[in-house]
Structures are given as structure tokens and as C-alpha cells.
């Protein structure tokens, strides 16, 4: 069958087919922009359809409502969802808690990642550096869920942490199912995402700069403050974008290790939009809030020049 086709095209239709092909492809040769446009159509179209369209739908839904009885979406434009969110004390509390914990996690990750990254980039030998890289990346090879569950077991009342504390004669730390537990687990989970960009930024600082600083009589601390830190700042900001946005959007860790007062924005989105009542417009309005928070954060980050380093 296939072979027969091949014979037919090469013998009977040969020259005319070649001519047709030339006519078809000639414009791409003459107009290179057309070729580029066609090549980009796939990925750009995909991006628009899957990514931008979903975000646009989210924003549009946020201004609609539902019929309470049938839970069908009612297409009348209003601000009721947003009014409901901001007029409710508990919901404002949820937003505040989410942003606050995301900020705390980011600060903690930065405080740990900077000395760690500095050691990796400037002190450690090649072998130690490889080992440290593996150690940083190793947790990412196992499932996020498994690691959070492990922390749940560690922090439980009769868990590993309290057991160890008791063994060395200290009072137990009752931080299971609390905001402290969430802060701890988030810091652990997102730390690699801070270490890697910080390491990259520190590694890029030429050694000559530090020598020059010393030659000019600066102490170690002054060099750190005036030379290393400003040059590493874009890396810290880039890392903070990861840790901040990942914490802001999470809802699994609050479900597993959070306590009675640990609801995050994501949990409200989940319970109002998917689990309970199917109120998609309200969930969309709530989901728009972290987007706005992130937009503000990114605008601030841009001013520090974080994106020039990416």
C-alpha cells in the first residue's frame, strides 16, 4: 500500500509535485518573519490557551455569583465576593495569616541559605561541594507528601521530637498541629529553592572583588556587608520569590500539620470551590488575592534588580 503510493508519486506525479512543494514553501524563504511566526504559533498558542486563558477565566469568575439553591453560576457582574471576603473578620485573618507565614518562611530560608550557600560557593572543596549539592537536592527526589507526613509524625505529641527531648531531660515541645509546625515544615520543604539561587549568585562574585576590598582595608564584616551581600541580593530575592509564592499557594501542609487555627487561602479556595457548595466564583475571588499579593511582591523585587540576575 505504502510502497505503491511511493511509486506513484515518483513516477507519474513527480515534477508537478515538486513544483507544488516549491510554491508552498517559497514564501517562507522569502519572508523569514512568516517562518518565525509559524514556528512560534505552537508554543505561544499553547501558553495562551492553557495558561493565560485559565487565569482570565479565574478573574472573570471572581465577579460572578452562584444561585444558592442550584449551585449554578449566575452571570451577573458584581463585587459581592470581594465584599464578603473583606467584610469577614475570619477571612481577613486567613489572608493575613497566609501572607505573614509566607514572609516568616522566606526570612528563615534566607537566613539559613546565605551562610550555607556561602560555604558551598566559596569555602568548600570540590568534593564537599558535590556532597552538599546532593544533600540539598536529595529531599526533592522523594514526594512532597511523604516528607510532610514524616514531619507530622515527628511533631506529634508522642512523636520523635518529644520522645528525644524527654530522653535528654527537657520538657516536651507541644508544637504539633500549630502555626509553628507549619512554619517549620514550610521552611524545610522550600529551603532548596532558596539555596540554589543564592549559591549561584555567590559563586558568580569574582574573587578579585573580595581581595580588592581587603586591600583597601575593609574588615571581613565590612566586605560582607558592602560587597558580598549587595552582589548576592538578586539571588536572595529570586529565591524569596520561590519560597514566598510556594508558601502562599500551598494548602496541603496546613491540612496535614496545621491545627484548628491554621486555615490558609488555599484551604478556603478548596473548601468553598471544590469540596463544599461548589461556589466557584467565591473560590475564584479568593484565589485572586494571592495573585495580587504576588504581583505587588514581584514589582518590589523588580526594583531590586533581581530579574537582571536571572
Amino acid at each position: 500500500m505504502e510502497r505503491g503510493d511511493l511509486v506513484a508519486t515518483t513516477t507519474a506525479g513527480g515534477p508537478s509535485l515538486r513544483r507544488a512543494r516549491r510554491r508552498l514553501f517559497a514564501p517562507f524563504w522569502r519572508l523569514p518573519w512568516l517562518r518565525t511566526a509559524l514556528q512560534l504559533l505552537g508554543p505561544v498558542g499553547w501558553m495562551t490557551l492553557i495558561y493565560v486563558a485559565a487565569l482570565a477565566a479565574l478573574f472573570v469568575y471572581a465577579f460572578w455569583g452562584i444561585d444558592v439553591f442550584t449551585t449554578k453560576v449566575v452571570h451577573t457582574w458584581n463585587l459581592d465576593n470581594f465584599r464578603e471576603i473583606f467584610e469577614s473578620g475570619p477571612f481577613r485573618g486567613v489572608i493575613w495569616r497566609t501572607v505573614w507565614i509566607a514572609a516568616a518562611v522566606t526570612a528563615t530560608c534566607a537566613a539559613i541559605a546565605f551562610p550555607f550557600g556561602y560555604y558551598m560557593a566559596r569555602v568548600a572543596s570540590g568534593r564537599t561541594r558535590t556532597l552538599l549539592f546532593v544533600l540539598v537536592l536529595l529531599p526533592l527526589w522523594s514526594s512532597y507528601l511523604v516528607r510532610v507526613y514524616a514531619w507530622k509524625v515527628i511533631l506529634a505529641n508522642d512523636g520523635v521530637l518529644n520522645w528525644s527531648l524527654e530522653k535528654i531531660g527537657l520538657p516536651g515541645a507541644h508544637i504539633g498541629y500549630s502555626n509553628t509546625a507549619m512554619w517549620l515544615v514550610f521552611t524545610y520543604i522550600w529551603l532548596p529553592f532558596m539555596i540554589l539561587p543564592v549559591y549561584a549568585a555567590l559563586e558568580r562574585i569574582p574573587h578579585s572583588y573580595i581581595e580588592a576590598s581587603r586591600d583597601l582595608g575593609a574588615s571581613g564584616l565590612t566586605t560582607l556587608r558592602r560587597v558580598v551581600l549587595p552582589l548576592a541580593l538578586p539571588g536572595l530575592v529570586a529565591g524569596s520569590i520561590f519560597t514566598f509564592s510556594l508558601t502562599l499557594g500551598d494548602y496541603i501542609t496546613p491540612t496535614l500539620v496545621g491545627g484548628a487555627g491554621s486555615t490558609f487561602i488555599g484551604n478556603v479556595v478548596y473548601s468553598t470551590g471544590l469540596g463544599v457548595s461548589g461556589n466557584l466564583p467565591f473560590a475564584a475571588a479568593f484565589a485572586a488575592i494571592p495573585l495580587v499579593v504576588m504581583a505587588i511582591y514581584l514589582a518590589l523585587a523588580k526594583r531590586t534588580g533581581a530579574f537582571d540576575a536571572l
Binding site: G89, P90, G259, T272
Partner: protein, 375 residues
């Protein structure tokens, strides 16, 4: 709003009218070969599904749901008709009935139904105006569970769940219907509120229940979602007192955790699950085959013992004891009818207070208030 409601009611009536003759004519025809069902995790256990598939020739496709709200959403997804049956609990069933998502069932075709305890033949959460929208399946009370080593003397009242003495050691389900438990407690402790039915609450009664729950929030260690969450809370000593199900108590006792459950003196709420039939099902014969099978004493006993539930079929009791000694009494499957009457079974809260007055708080308001309590 009002118009939408009327239109929906009309749609539901049309659906019922269309479905009724259809159900009548399909008796003689063969089974359709498959049945897709939304169920609580474990409700379609191979132990009883496999024999059914062999007997009936209907292949069961299971879709497990994690909450009543998810069940309602799934039943309505794709315009309805994606699933044939759903094992709806009492807090979902009325929503499905009034939403026109399920159709009336002819109980005369289900022999097991006549063997049911009277209270479960036509319970108000699946029977409306004499029409049966499904066949009751199993039920259980919502009990008060406590760690016998940490809580002494044994609590006799729901007040234990609101007692600051147990701050940070209490766990309650993360479910809007939990408001009814607070209302039940208030109906006995604050008679001046005049709460008669914990699912039909006027604004002041509702506000009192919410205020009580907000006061309880700081005492709660965790609002549990799955019964396995509660098991791990009690196992690890994070909680010593909580609202629970007999199944959870059984799991913990099997794991040698010193727990006991009581039905406190204020009484208890309870849940009743019903197999409901989609208004748009294409497999009615398989569905009726399932109804006949699942309501028979043997399968009732098997499911009850497997999941620590109480069967609705009276004849299941001796068969339960055969499967696991003492299980019939442990799960109250031999209790007198008056015992069932004392349980306030879950039902979807509606604006209609049962007396035609639309002054009560409906379920959407329950959800909203509950979200604010736990946030």
C-alpha cells in the same frame, strides 16, 4: 431566586414523571451490564461487589468521594447522568432530591425493604411526600469518644467538648453539619432558645450555636477530615476527647488505644446513608439488582461488620454475630425502635422550618458560618 426554585421544582417533577413509567417497563428486559457509582470510601468493597457482579452480570465502576458536598458536585457534573447511583448521607440527600438529580424508587421491587426497621423505611432525609428517593443503607450515631486513661471520670454530657479543662486536646469533624451538634446541646442546656430540631434553626438559634462553636475553636487541636486523621490524633496523644464514629472507636480499640465511646445524656446526632438513583440513569435494571442485593440481610451484615456501621435490615443481627461475635449489640443493631427515634439524623438544612415558614437558615448559610468558625 424564587423563579429559579419553581423552575427547578418543575424540572424535578418532569424528571420523576418521565422516570416512573420507564422504571415500570424495564422489569422484563435484561441487565445493562454496568453500573457507575459514587460511594464513600470502602462502600464498594470487593467482598460484596464481586459476588454481585457474578450474580447480576453488572460491572461496577466505583468513584469514591471524600465528602457529602463532593458527592453532590459529582452527581451534577457533566449535566448529571455520568453516574447511576450515589451512597448519599442525610446532609446531601435532600439537596439531590430538590435539585432534581435523583429519581423516585419503587420499593415494592426491593424485598429487603420490608425487613427494615420502621424508622428507616421512610426516613425524612430520603422520603419526601410519600415518595422514596432511594433505599436506606446503613447508619451510625455520632458519639463522644474519650481516652479512658486521660479523661476521668467518664464524660456523660457533650459539655465536655466545650470545657476549657481539655484545651488543645479536643478534636471535632470538619463538617458544616457539626453546627447541629452544638444546636442539639443547646436545645437541652438552654431551653429558652426553643430549639426543637437541630437542623431547623432560626437566626437567633443559629447565632447561639455559632457563638458556642467559636468559643470551642481555641480548645480544638484539629478539625479532622477523614476518620484516619482522628485515629492518628488519638494514637499519638494529640487528642483525648472528640466527636467520633463507632468505626473510629473500633479502629482505635483494635490498635489497643484505651478509648471508649458514649452517647451523652443530651442524645446524639446520627448519619444515615441512602443509595440514590440518578434521574438520568441508563442502567435502571442493574440499579434495582443492586438495591435487592445490598438490602438483603446477608450483605447488610457483611457491610456493617466490615465498617462498624449499623444495618437498617432487622434480620441482619444474627448474621452479624456469626461474622464477628457480639457485633450486633456493639453497633446497636438489636436496639428497640425507640432508640432510633432518639437519634437526630442528619438532613440538609432548608430555609423552610418544616412549618411552611421560610425563616430558617439554609445550608449555604451553614457552610459560610462553618468556614468562618474554623478559619
Amino acid at each position: 431566586m424564587r423563579r429559579a426554585k419553581l423552575r427547578h421544582l418543575a424540572l424535578a417533577l418532569v424528571a420523576v414523571a418521565l422516570a416512573a413509567p420507564a422504571a415500570g417497563t424495564t422489569k422484563a428486559t435484561a441487565n445493562e451490564g454496568s453500573l457507575s457509582m459514587i460511594a464513600w470510601e470502602g462502600y464498594l468493597d470487593a467482598k460484596w461487589v464481586k459476588p454481585f457482579e457474578r450474580q447480576s452480570g453488572c460491572k461496577v465502576k466505583a468513584k469514591y468521594a471524600g465528602s457529602s458536598d463532593e458527592m453532590v458536585t459529582l452527581m451534577r457534573s457533566g449535566g448529571g447522568g455520568l453516574y447511576d447511583m450515589v451512597s448519599a448521607s442525610g446532609d446531601a440527600s435532600l439537596r439531590l432530591i430538590y435539585g432534581g438529580d435523583v429519581q423516585a424508587v419503587d420499593v415494592s421491587k426491593v424485598p429487603g425493604w420490608k425487613q427494615f426497621f420502621r424508622g428507616f423505611q421512610s426516613p425524612p432525609n430520603n422520603t419526601v411526600k410519600g415518595k422514596h428517593y432511594g433505599i436506606s443503607l446503613q447508619w451510625g450515631p455520632n458519639t463522644l469518644m474519650f481516652n479512658t486513661k486521660k479523661v476521668a471520670p467518664a464524660p456523660r454530657s457533650w459539655s465536655a467538648l466545650y470545657d476549657p479543662k481539655f484545651k488543645g486536646k479536643i478534636t471535632v469533624p470538619n463538617n458544616p453539619i457539626q453546627i447541629a451538634d452544638a444546636a442539639l446541646y443547646l436545645s437541652k442546656t438552654r431551653p429558652s432558645l426553643g430549639i426543637k430540631d437541630p437542623y431547623e434553626l432560626t437566626k437567633p438559634q443559629f447565632d447561639a450555636a455559632i457563638a458556642l462553636l467559636k468559643k470551642q475553636r481555641p480548645l480544638v487541636k484539629k478539625y479532622w477530615g477523614l476518620s484516619s486523621d482522628e485515629v492518628s490524633l488519638f494514637k499519638n496523644g494529640d487528642a483525648v476527647l472528640g466527636a467520633s464514629w463507632p468505626y473510629t472507636t473500633g479502629q482505635l480499640q483494635a490498635a489497643k488505644v484505651p478509648v471508649k465511646e458514649v452517647i451523652p445524656r443530651e442524645g446524639a446526632t446520627g448519619w444515615l446513608d441512602t443509595w440514590m438513583l440518578s434521574a438520568k440513569t441508563k442502567h435502571p435494571n442493574c440499579a434495582y439488582a443492586w438495591y435487592r442485593y445490598i438490602s438483603s440481610p446477608k450483605v447488610q451484615a457483611l457491610q456493617a461488620v466490615t465498617w462498624g456501621e449499623t444495618p437498617v435490615n432487622k434480620l441482619a443481627c444474627p448474621l452479624m454475630d456469626k461474622l464477628a461475635k457480639g457485633s450486633c449489640a456493639a453497633y446497636h443493631a438489636n436496639a428497640p425502635e425507640s432508640f432510633y427515634a432518639s437519634i437526630k439524623f442528619w438532613k440538609t438544612p432548608l430555609a423552610d422550618c418544616g412549618n411552611g415558614q421560610k425563616k430558617c437558615m439554609d445550608y449555604s448559610q451553614w457552610i459560610k458560618a462553618w468556614n468562618e468558625v474554623i478559619s
